[in-house]
Amino acid sequence: MHPYQQTDILNPIINFFLQKGVPFDTFILILMLPIIATFIAFLRQVVGIKAFGIYTPLIITFAFLATNGIKYGIAIFLTVILAGMIMRFILKPFRLLYLPRVAIMLTIVAIFLLGILALGGNFRRTGLASVSIFPILIMITIVEKFVAVQIEKGDRIAIILAIETLFISICGYFIASSLWMIKTITLFPWIILFTLPINIFLGKWTGLRLSEYFRFKEIFKHL
């Protein structure tokens, strides 16, 4: 039972869904999605943090939420990226076609992850081994995104974007798991409608991104 599920001031909207048999956690997580998505859009348009698009950081945020404890989530994420990097160097001289190459990557990453899980068990980190399978599968598949960026934009950019993705996902995790946020959504579920005007504003905003103030700093002296 969730702590907020028992408050007597439950919003009628929530009540309706609960009575239809929708689990409370599912309800909250689904409503969390537009908030995290808006947060990612804000970081992209106003701050200038790119990450791997909107889908990857979003899905990783939820993968983090689904693992028991964010540290295990981060450990799995880093393992995937590290394996992806190492494999890139190993596979480079073979000059393989794209899909087979990604398939090999996925194989190796999967083996790597099994190793990490076993290692966790060895050190009595049972939390790691008991992470449910879906977040693990989700994180394995981000290796494709990583490889695609490696090919398109090079290793350096791929690593930067991976770090940005990790950063956004960690922020997203803390937003989505903050008690204040859960409480707010429980009490006023309609609040997520506010993401619409916010996103319309973001979609029309043509100002400089925060990162661009740094990028173009040199020009400032000459304005």
């Binding site: 076609l97 794209y98 100002g207 991104r209 304005l223």
Partner: protein, 477 residues
């Protein structure tokens, strides 16, 4: 502290209006001006090549193309020339491009790459397979590979480049070239002229085609080619106006309102369009130390009818930075080899003439006809009656002649203060010197000009070194 902070905020506000950011580029310029149809042309290299060629613009020749595995198997490798460039049709950022410089003589189907390493037909096939698979295409969709003639590096650029060919990126908006940048391949970029991959971008002054500031990679401002003493500013791009007109024509033809045209110069065939870009990068602003947004705003709304008008507007609006900069640093004005001069004669009489700037002469000299018109007729006629025949005009006699003039004749004259004894290959002469003031490039020069018959010469006035102390001369102007 607080004051500095407020100052900074004002600066940021200003920057917002002048610098083009990603958001504004996409929403204000690409979306409304680069319609889907036009973007499709730009993203499809073979199509844009075809359309540009049909309209009479220079593009590198197409040697052959491979659309499928089948065509790859049946491809006649002997049909390839010694050097060529292999490109993916929908590639971007210079990815997937392979340049071959020559054929290995004693081996069959082996070529030599830019770095001197060899590439066999099997590796080529593999690369083409990757292209067909879409490894280098924008959305990862299956692609076409094509062979193109390899451009010859211009001698001028040779010392500045590592392996590949430099190109010139020109942003054209509303038929006006708004900003330009020379992109030089480096060791870091592995011979590719792409800033993201570590090439050098050098800003170009729009009116003169001379390079200004250099940017290495995404952020670093440099002065010299790394590890050398080769200065990056002050390189004069050849065929500058042809390049600009190519870029403007490309915009007209592709119908792309906001275009980044990439133009390379071939040693034999001159400027050629190598690529059209519907989403030009923003680093060009750093290389020019100037905001693109402000420039685009200035250009929008203008009605430009012809290509040459577009070039002129671009030069007028966005050129001349070099001159201004030089004038600022040196406090001197930049003039060309021929300048308009306003002569101020007796009683304030003014005559405007074209003068030749001659750094080979020490003093300025003026045609006798003009001097007469300026009101010195009676004096000059008096002078012409003087007799100097007692001295031979030779360098060793110069002082004696001058002394003789002082003693014998000077007291009769009011305007002629002195004489000049000129020794030259075409004949030596004794000329009267008159104090005449003139105005050039808004500077008043107090000068002593010698008078001689220049009737058969192109310019009635030459300005010599003594009167050029306030100026710098640009022979390209």
């Amino acid at each position: 502290m607080i004051l500095r902070f407020i100052k900074k905020i004002f600066l940021y506000k200003k920057a917002r209006h002048q610098i083009l950011g990603m958001n504004s580029r996409n929403l204000d310029f690409i979306r409304p001006f680069n319609l889907k149809k036009a973007k499709e042309i730009a993203d499809n290299k073979l199509l844009s090549k075809k359309i540009l060629r049909e309209n009479g613009l220079a593009v590198p020749n197409l040697i052959g193309r491979i659309r499928s595995r089948e065509e790859l198997e049946n491809f006649n490798w002997q049909s390839l020339p010694e050097g060529f460039a292999l490109k993916p049709n929908r590639g971007f950022g210079g990815e997937g491009i392979l340049v071959v410089y020559g054929k290995k003589k004693d081996l069959d189907n082996v070529w030599i790459k830019a770095d001197g390493s060899l590439i066999t037909v099997n590796s080529l096939k593999n690369h083409i397979n990757n292209i067909l698979d879409g490894s280098f295409s924008l959305s990862g969709t299956p692609d076409i590979a094509f062979f193109e003639e390899r451009l010859k590096l211009l001698k001028l650029f040779k010392p500045y480049c590592y392996k590949g060919i430099p190109d010139i990126r020109i942003i054209v908006f509303n038929k006006v070239p708004t900003m330009a940048m020379l992109r030089l391949p480096t060791k870091l970029s592995n011979g590719k002229a792409n800033l993201q991959q570590g090439a050098i971008g050098v800003g170009i002054d729009m009116s003169s085609g001379i390079t200004t500031t250099a940017l290495w990679g995404k952020k670093k401002i440099i002065e010299y080619i790394p590890e050398t003493r080769l200065l990056l500013s002050g390189i004069k791009i050849p065929c500058w106006n042809d390049i600009l007109s190519l870029a403007i024509r490309a915009q007209e033809i592709s119908n792309m309102g906001f275009l980044g045209a990439d133009i390379a110069i071939d040693e034999n065939n001159g400027p050629m369009i190598i690529e059209l870009n519907a989403r030009p990068g923003l680093s060009i602003q750093i290389a020019n130390l100037s905001g693109l947004k402000e420039r685009l705003k200035k250009v929008s709304g203008l009605k430009i009818k012809t290509v040459s008008r577009g070039i002129r507007v671009g030069a007028d609006l966005f050129g001349g930075e070099i001159e201004e900069e030089l004038e600022e640093i040196s406090g001197k004005k930049v003039i060309s080899t021929v300048e308009k001069v306003k002569l101020i004669g007796k009683d304030g009489k003014e005559i405007e003439v074209e003068a030749k700037i001659d750094t080979g002469a020490y003093s300025s000299s003026l045609d006798i006809e003009l001097a007469n018109k300026l009101g010195y007729k009676t004096e000059i006629e008096k002078f012409q009656k003087f007799d100097f025949s007692c001295y031979e005009i030779k360098p060793e006699n110069e002082q004696k002649i001058k002394n003789f003039f002082e003693k014998q004749y000077k007291s009769n004259l009011s305007d002629i203060k002195n004489i000049a004894v000129i020794f030259s290959a075409s004949g030596s002469s004794i000329r009267p010197v008159i104090k005449i003031n003139f105005e050039m490039n808004k500077e008043l020069i107090i000068s002593k000009i010698n008078i001689i018959n220049r009737k058969s010469l192109k310019y009635p006035l030459i300005i010599g070194k003594r009167d050029l102390k306030k100026f710098l001369i640009d022979v390209n102007k």
